[in-house]
Symmetry: C2
């Protein structure tokens, strides 16, 4: 990614994590690894945990503690109804933004040729 990634992630990262949780339940360490796999190499571990705390406090996810064979117990997060609703809103905002940017990229703005 690039230098601009940090700022661009603000607000989007939350949606990304919620979207992941919409597919299946997961815990912090797992999500971090998953993101690194996908190319988000610059996302700090602490960022994910802070984000998970946030969405938990907002009531967007349910949490369950599950013992691990390889270390401390995992906090497994799963999206609840409120979270699904919130994610729906995220997609709307994202779509809007995405469309606008696509238009800007192709041909420039209204004054174009």
């Amino acid at each position: 990614m690039g230098r601009q990634a940090t700022e661009m992630l603000k607000g989007t990262l939350e949606g990304i994590v919620l979207a992941i949780l919409a597919g299946r339940s997961a815990y912090g360490y797992e999500i971090t690894a998953w993101l690194r796999d996908r190319g988000f190499t610059e996302i700090a571990e602490g960022t994910i945990y802070a984000l998970l705390v946030r969405i938990e406090q907002r009531g967007l996810v349910d949490v369950e503690k599950v013992p691990s064979e390889k270390g401390p117990p995992r906090k497994v997060y799963s999206l609840n109804d409120e979270g699904r609703e919130y994610l729906e809103e995220f997609w709307k905002t994202w779509s809007f933004l995405s469309e606008q940017l696509e238009q800007l990229r192709e041909g420039g703005n209204g004054s174009g040729h």
Copy 2:
């Protein structure tokens, strides 16, 4: 847009403005009006001016003061070479993010079953 727009704009708004300036020169008030037209109704006027100051200080744009018939002189911004390069990087980061989100939206994450 939605409640989530504010955070999502962080990092993207800059790219949006640079993309506008890539199409043609413009001044703050004009850009604000243009954005409102395009549906960015919640963007505060002050935000655009602050952003313009920022990208000017970073040397991404050239500025020219032009007298106006209807008020104080306008500060007309135009993208320079460094700005064009920066915009190019923005598009790369955006593309990456966009692809990842598109994959997430469609079918869930790679781990499938």
